[in-house]
């Protein structure tokens, strides 16, 4: 059911709105590998980590490299993956084995499966073994189940604003962590909300146009598949604030498969889960954990590595599977 294809590197432009069906399917062929990202001044190149050996060292080197992990779903114990701690550890080993050690980690949400303190504890404990010591988190809907995200914010939201959003700078790259999993409305998609959008507009107002921007949030900020809730209601407004910038990279999770789309100055990328895969959009009755033969599981889980090189207009994103 879930086939891996050999063609792993995808970089295609869509200037039209919505999803180009052919490009979309091509993206999907990529599902199940992790990514290495290299920031090179404004256009994002990405390489599958399963073919990382073919990527030249020069392409992987940069002023800044970091890794993205997502959807660790600690606490999930169903047949699709009865050992999500084991696969998260495998992700950490993968990160520790990268030739360009990432300087920090981004976790794009669904850290836990049921927002339980012990689930958050286990993830924090496992990530302590990663060589990068700094981890930046944004919540997924599974992390804010019981108390409108209060316990998530107490643990991971130090220095954040409002519902947990924040920004920071690393070597000239401006990172914006957004929250689109709170106050969801019946029938709707992910939501950023007015307060957060206003904050974001203000946050980027004084930045130079040449500043590379990396936005990360749990639910995709582009319409991957609204029928399954894979999109964000008011993401267009957020992206409008970023029009003036030459290089914008948007990193998301939620859909448990890698996909990439380039639209003008913006490159969108979703990361694989470290816990379990989900079906390709529309290829099943619903989203949800997808069972694959045990020996194939690690090939459909993964991490994403990102590398930025100043002066080149690209952020290289490389996905790699845990296989």
């Amino acid at each position: 059911m879930f086939r891996r294809k050999e063609k792993n590197e995808i970089l295609h432009d869509h200037n039209n709105d919505g999803i180009d069906r052919r490009g979309f399917l091509k993206c999907m062929a990529w599902a199940g590998t992790g990514a290495f990202c290299v920031m090179k001044g404004g256009v994002l190149s990405s390489y599958s980590l399963s073919r990382i050996a073919e990527v030249s060292a020069a392409d992987m080197m940069g002023e800044l490299s970091f890794a993205q992990i997502s959807d660790s779903h600690m606490g999930f114990n169903k047949p699709a993956n009865p050992d999500v701690a084991g696969t998260l550890k495998a992700a950490v080993e993968k990160i520790n084995g990268l030739s360009e050690p990432p300087e920090f980690l981004l976790h794009t949400g669904d850290i836990s499966h049921l927002s339980k303190p012990e689930e958050f504890d286990i993830v924090e404990q496992i990530l302590k073994d990663a060589r990068p010591k700094e981890v930046f988190y944004v919540p997924g809907e599974h992390d804010v189940l019981n108390d409108d995200g209060k316990s998530f914010l107490e643990r991971f939201g130090r220095g954040s604003k409002g519902g947990g959003w924040y920004s920071f700078d690393k070597k000239g790259v401006h990172f914006i962590g957004l929250v689109n999993v709170m106050n969801l409305k019946a029938g709707g998609l992910g939501t950023l909300g007015h307060e957060q959008l206003e904050w974001m507009e203000d946050d980027v107002k004084h930045l130079k146009h040449s500043t590379p921007i990396v936005v990360f949030a749990h639910i995709p900020l582009w319409s991957v598949y609204p029928e399954w809730g894979w999109g964000t209601e008011d993401s267009a407004q957020a992206l409008a604030y970023l029009k003036k910038f030459g290089s914008v990279t948007v990193l998301n999770g939620h859909i448990h498969q890698t996909m990439q789309k380039v639209e003008g100055n913006v490159t969108f990328h979703t990361a694989a889960s470290t816990a379990f895969p989900q079906p390709q959009p529309g290829k099943a009755d619903s989203p949800g954990p997808m069972k694959v033969p045990a020996e194939q599981l690690k090939s459909v889980l993964g991490i994403t590595d990102v590398n930025y090189v100043q002066g080149k207009h690209a952020l290289a994103v490389v996905d790699s599977s845990l296989a």
């Binding site: 999930f76 169903k78 699709a80 499966h113 049921l114 927002s115 809907e141 599974h142 189940l145 019981n146 969801l184 409305k185 019946a186 029938g187 709707g188 998609l189 029928e227 399954w228 809730g229 009755d285 619903s286 989203p287 949800g288 954990p289």
Partner: protein, 119 residues
């Protein structure tokens, strides 16, 4: 505060069911008739049936059959009912004591919506 009132009503209704099941001999037929019940299954990220029509007094029970947690949350303001997070096979019940149309959704996956019509 409002929620606790509803929860209280629900517990009272469920308590009555439990009392009947326990074979309490003091029940009088007219006041202690077993309330009607109805079920909604949560499967493949959807409520089934998505629209349910029941008589006043019915206790509706939702059961999560997915591998992913869901919630059952009224869309009214204030909310008429709100389940805790239901993991696989967990249930939530609510006694509908007044006629009306009650829309609800899963607050984690808001594309999932449903309706209970109480007549």
């Amino acid at each position: 505060m409002r929620r606790s009132v509803f929860t209280g009503g629900l517990l009272a209704a469920l308590g009555m069911v439990a009392g009947m099941a326990g074979g309490s001999g003091s029940c009088t037929a007219s006041a202690q008739q077993k309330p009607a019940t109805a079920d909604v299954k949560i499967d493949n990220f959807s409520f089934g049936p998505a629209e349910l029509t029941v008589p006043v007094g019915t206790i509706v029970t939702w059961t999560n059959r997915d591998d992913i947690p869901h919630t059952v949350v009224s869309t009214d303001d204030p909310k008429v009912f709100k389940s805790k997070v239901l993991d696989t096979d967990e249930k939530f019940s609510f006694a509908f004591s007044k006629a009306g149309t009650y829309s609800y959704f899963c607050s984690i996956h808001p594309k999932m919506t449903g309706k209970v019509v109480v007549q």
